[in-house]
């Protein structure tokens, strides 16, 4: 929700900037207009870029550390063949047939400073990839990719963003055995991804 609101707010802001750019483009005489035009294009581009990034934020969930954020389970369908189901609240059930013996989950996290936490801003995360190992073959499945062609997290991560208010982190779990009917709980901690086997039987 938080990230929806934030994304929405930035989107609105971006739209304002775009409108400002367009207004600058159409008004005024052309002598100054050429300079203005360049500036306007820049401002418009900035707005579009910002809006693009905001759309990407929609795919992130607010993160509460040390609490279960998802469950994942595997139901055997054949030799080394399993139906995997990943269940996250408020998200479409992600289910896929996978082949292999071992799996590993990764998540990207936006970490926020204590000051921002004080303003009610929560860290955000997105489970991004599931890796499956079969023999010496490794396959990777995107759980959620950036749908709008702009990957804000990847850009910030690549730039090694050092702005102290928001930083990026990539958490990868240990390799775990694929086990029939066993359910795993996924917990994000301050330092990584903790995955524990749980079972609903008594």
């Amino acid at each position: 929700m938080m990230y929806m609101l934030l994304g929405g707010a930035i989107l609105l802001f971006a739209l304002l900037i775009v409108l400002l750019g367009i207004k600058l483009l159409v008004g005024g005489n052309w002598l100054v207009g050429w300079l203005k035009g360049n500036l306007a294009l820049l401002v418009t581009a900035l707005g579009i870029g910002l809006g693009w990034g905001a759309l990407d934020l929609f795919s992130y969930q607010p993160l509460r550390y040390n609490q279960q954020v998802a469950t994942i389970d595997f139901i055997k369908q054949g030799d080394n063949k399993y139906r995997m189901s990943l269940l996250q609240p408020n998200t479409k059930l992600f289910t896929q047939v996978v082949f292999g013996e071992k799996w590993q989950l990764s998540a990207r996290v936006f970490q926020v400073s204590p000051q921002l936490l004080g303003f009610g801003m929560s860290p955000g995360f997105r489970l991004d990839k599931l890796a499956i190992q079969q023999g010496d073959k490794l396959s990777t499945q995107w759980i959620r990719d950036s749908e709008y062609g702009f990957d804000l997290w990847a850009v910030m991560n690549h730039l090694q963003w050092t702005e102290p208010t928001v930083t990026t982190a990539h958490h990868v779990s240990d390799w775990l055995e694929v086990t029939d009917k066993l359910s795993f709980s996924v917990v994000v901690t301050a330092t990584g991804l903790k995955i524990e086997a749980t079972e609903t039987e008594q």
Binding site: Q68, A70, T71, D73, S85, L87, Q88, P89, N90, T91, K92, L93, T179, D180, K181, L182, S183, S185, A197, T198, E199, T200, E201, Q202
Partner: protein, 275 residues
């Protein structure tokens, strides 16, 4: 006793006589599975309700009146997904889990009890209480609840855990079993322990209970100390059992199960004693 068991129930059961005639939201089930939207929402506004088989009042929950419906088909409900009750409960919050467990129990009962056991005519809803009845005059049929004991047996730093053949690989849990007709709860515990692992216990202490809809059970949880005997696995209900040191435990049941509460409670207790 587990302190959290004294917290209020997350919902308040309702029936036709409780004056909540209008539903705010519906819980939908199809073939014992929970019907959810693509984004995991399972409290449906009434307009989305179609083609239901049975609709009954369920509960007041977070200031809303909930009804329970079982569906004949889900073809007409757009973009839904079915989630098994166990999976849904694992992913739910504590409050949601209570509600889902309750609803799941009722759904199971509604589907299993549709005809009179005496004259085989279709059963009708009782007008005043949540029960089914038959025009032949057979006594009203209430939702069945099966009492089931569950016990953690300890010996100093060790706990006795066992695995059933239906458990996933590597999972061990406490001893459990249904009470038989004519038995007290205490006799049930002693008998189950003797049958499944062949030992005797002492200092039986009640710890708490938990409704468990897989199927229609009420788990009655105990702690007991080892008294005598060697572990002898029955090979039928239990395929392996052993003493596990608290520092070296196998894969345990989910933290949502009373089996796990019993184990965690003992770990905490031992930790407090040693520090």
């Amino acid at each position: 006793m587990f302190a959290h068991l004294m917290d209020n129930l997350a919902y308040q059961p309702i029936w036709y006589t409780d004056n909540y005639i209008e539903a705010d939201r519906y819980l939908l089930f199809y073939q014992q599975q929970l019907v959810a939207t693509e984004s995991q929402q399972w409290l449906w506004p009434s307009k989305d309700l179609v083609n239901h088989q049975t609709v009954v009042p369920l509960a007041r929950y977070q200031d809303q009146t909930l009804f329970l419906a079982t569906l004949d088909s889900i073809e007409t409900v757009e973009s839904v997904q079915l989630i098994g009750l166990r999976r849904a409960m694992l992913a739910a919050t504590t409050n949601e889990r209570q509600l889902l467990g309750y609803a799941g129990h009722l759904v199971g009962w509604m589907e299993q009890h549709q005809y009179c056991g005496r004259c085989a005519r279709p059963l009708q809803w009782h007008p005043i209480v949540r029960a089914k009845q038959c025009e032949c005059g057979a006594p009203p049929l209430y939702p069945a609840i099966s009492p089931c004991i569950i016990v953690l047996i300890t010996r100093g730093d060790q706990v006795l855990l066992a695995r059933s053949p239906r458990f996933p690989e590597g999972v061990f849990s406490t001893i459990a079993g249904f009470i038989e007709p004519g038995e007290t709860i205490e006799h049930g515990v002693i008998r189950e322990v003797a049958e499944e692992v062949g030992i005797t216990i002492k200092n039986l202490q009640y710890k708490g209970s938990q409704p468990w809809p897989f199927p229609h059970s009420l788990m009655i949880g105990f702690h007991a100390e080892y008294d005598s005997g060697e572990i002898e696995v029955d090979g039928d209900e239990i395929e392996a059992a052993d003493w596990f040191n608290l520092n070296d435990l196998p894969i345990l049941p989910s933290p949502m199960s009373i089996a796990r509460w019993l184990i965690d409670d003992y770990i905490k207790e031992s930790y407090n004693q040693s520090s």
